[in-house]
């Protein structure tokens, strides 16, 4: 009995993101309207929605960039409203805009962000060598990031975002502008990270990417209209693929995209 209870508490504590009726208002405009969901450790959680549905606002609250108007949220075990500094230490972030410095070399970018997250010089050195080897970037170590092709930059940006082994990594449309082949390579990195126990929270426009997620939530007008595994969603909406599911839900939107 005691043992079972013990496993029970472990099960509970594996929720890396817990969101309860989170609201964000800007004046009279409710950008995020009572959203609630949990994300498990090591899960790949897709966060979908049309432009203006409130994805970015919700994600900014989870990253501690913006304070919720109402509701509660926990990320990596810390309250997003009152412990945002702790939250920031335990997450990684990669944005749709470029996340690395073009005028720094590959290794300098790695060292900079590792330094900002407080890693020790010795650890940074060892881990950098390992990472460059895994990515087959050994030759590019001393190359300025601006001369890398886009696909390589994005792989590097992702690797930098998880370099300090955060509990959660937030990816804001990470694969924008990349061809499907490179996108698949990128997703291999995401699977690797998830296998190591890093929770992945990803927003995307590409519905083929939504299929790669363990679970997907779809936001419409600030609310979460659907949340389940891609397979279950397709069954529930009698759809061939995620695109149909998305179209079905997004049609209900009254809010205009910005």
């Amino acid at each position: 009995m005691e043992n079972l209870q013990h496993t029970d508490t472990i099960m509970q504590s594996t929720k890396v993101i817990e969101v309860n009726k989170l609201v964000k208002r800007f004046g009279h405009f409710t950008a995020v309207d009572h959203i609630s969901f949990d994300v498990e450790k090591g899960e790949i959680f897709g966060f979908l929605g049309a432009n203006g549905a409130g994805k970015t606002t919700a994600m900014r609250m989870l990253c501690g960039l913006s304070k919720p108007t109402e509701g509660k949220g926990n990320v990596a075990g810390f309250d997003i409203e009152h412990q945002s500094e702790q939250v920031k230490k335990n997450i990684g972030y990669m944005s749709q805009k470029f996340s690395l410095y073009n005028d720094l070399k590959v290794w300098e970018n790695i060292r900079l962000f590792a330094g900002i997250y407080g890693m020790k010089d010795q650890d940074i050195k060892e881990k950098t060598a390992l990472l460059l080897e895994q990515l087959h970037f050994e030759k590019e170590r001393d190359v300025l990031v601006k001369s890398l092709p886009l696909g390589m930059k994005q792989k590097l940006a992702f690797s930098v975002a998880i370099f300090h082994t955060p509990k959660v990594v937030f990816l804001d449309e990470p694969t924008g502008g990349v061809d499907p082949a490179t996108r698949r390579q990128f997703w291999e990195l995401i699977y690797d990270a998830a296998a190591k126990g890093i929770t992945v929270f990803v927003t995307t426009h590409y519905m083929d990417e939504a299929e790669y997620c363990n679970r997907v939530s779809i936001m419409v007008d600030g609310r979460i209209e659907a949340l389940d595994s891609p397979q279950n969603l397709k069954t529930a909406f009698e759809a061939q693929n995620m695109d149909e599911v998305f179209q079905h839900l997004a049609r209900k939107a009254t809010r205009k995209a910005d």
Binding site: C63, G64, L65, S66, K67, E85, K88, K89, I91, Y93, M94, S95, K97, F98, S99, L100, Y101, N102, D103, L104, E108, R111, L112, F113, G115, I116, Y117, G118, D121, L144, F170
Partner: protein, 368 residues
């Protein structure tokens, strides 16, 4: 390495890898200080003067000697008739002709009065006025000497009164103004662009999500640009002293202290600009074009603040350059000790604190 140091190192990489910008940032002050230093001056040196001296006596000789000794005039020609005077101007040989009365000294001794005619080429009215003023002042000084010797009131009349400070120290006044303007504009531009650039390329978001706190980000941005500004300060001071020949009459230490505080204020001003805009272009326009006019017009750099209407005088108090220029004039030109610019230093420190506080507040608001 601590997060703060990693960040400063990154900033230096940005600066050193962008050769063109670095060259501009370090080169502009040199060019500007030289251009402004030479261009903004009301002093006219080595004006060519021709002399018509039918009297040729002891008094006219003395006066001519004085002109020859002056830096402001080169005696280029003696003319012997009024017709020749016309020619001198037509052929552009001189800008000023000084014509003595016949029997100048005799008339002066007997009647106590004598006339000198100053004929200037007034195609450039400002220059003409200035050089006739110089000439009158030289003549007056001779008159003073004569009166001192004899205690008899002699009067030599080029009626134009002495309008100018005979030492012409006024020209030095421009250099502190130029220092203030250049340091303010360059420093403000550097920091504002550095921060706004991160917003523009999107890396600012990454920094804000990181555990680094906003104050550390701002300070880490300021450190490299502060050092760069110090390089600029050194070059403009060296140019002022060795090229423009403006002596540092007061304490060098005091001058440097005031300048460093002023640099901090300028950098903080740039920071404030960066929180108000998201585009490098707007940041650059704001910190150059928008700041330049108030700095030039209201800082006392060119136009004396005391001559302005009260409300403009009041407004000039919020221009940091005004306080800096006033302090530099006191130390550099008047040779005063640092305790005399205590007020200026306090005002600048206060401005720095206020600017940093506002920028930080604005910076945080942006996160919402």
């Amino acid at each position: 390495m601590s997060p703060f140091l990693s960040f400063i190192q990154k900033e230096f990489h940005h600066i050193f890898r962008d050769h063109r910008t670095m060259l501009i940032l370090l080169g502009i002050p040199i060019i500007e200080v030289i251009l402004f230093g030479f261009a903004i001056t009301t002093e006219i040196k080595n004006s060519k003067i021709a002399i018509f001296d039918p009297s040729n006596d002891i008094a006219t000789q003395r006066i001519i000697e004085r002109f020859k000794a002056s830096d402001y005039f080169d005696v280029v020609q003696y003319v012997h008739s009024s017709k020749e005077i016309q020619q001198v101007f037509r052929q552009n040989k001189a800008q000023l002709v000084m014509a003595f009365d016949e029997r100048f000294y005799e008339t002066l001794l007997h009647t106590g009065k004598a006339n000198i005619q100053l004929i200037a080429d007034a195609t450039d009215p400002n220059t003409a006025t200035t050089i006739t003023n110089y000439a009158s002042s030289i003549i007056s000084s001779y008159q003073q000497e004569l009166m001192g010797q004899n205690k008899v009131p002699y009067q030599i009349t080029p009626v134009i009164k002495l309008l100018y400070n005979p030492q012409m120290k006024g020209s030095f006044n421009f250099v502190p103004g130029v220092l203030g303007m250049i340091l303010l504009l360059i420093s403000a531009m550097m920091t504002s662009i550095a921060i706004v650039r991160e917003k523009e390329i999107g890396t600012m978001e990454i920094l804000l999500v990181s555990p680094m706190n906003p104050l550390a980000i701002i300070l880490a941005k300021m450190v490299p640009y502060f050092l760069l500004s110090c390089v600029n300060l050194t070059t403009v001071l060296l140019i002022s002293v060795f090229v423009l020949h403006v002596p540092i009459a007061g304490s060098l230490g005091g001058l440097i202290l005031v300048s460093l505080i002023f640099l901090l204020v300028s950098l903080a001003l740039g920071m404030l600009v960066s929180t108000l805009t998201d585009s490098q272009l707007v940041a650059m326009l704001m910190s150059s074009a928008v700041f330049m006019l108030p700095v030039i017009l209201l800082s006392g750099m060119i136009y004396p603040i005391a001559n302005m209407p009260i409300w403009l005088q009041w407004l000039s108090n919020i221009i940091p350059a005004k306080w800096y220029i006033s302090a530099v004039r006191s130390i550099m030109i008047e040779g005063l000790n640092i305790t005399f610019v205590f007020k200026e230093i306090m005002v600048l420190i206060l401005m720095f604190v206020i600017l940093v506080a506002i920028s930080l507040k604005k910076f945080k608001v942006r996160l919402e």
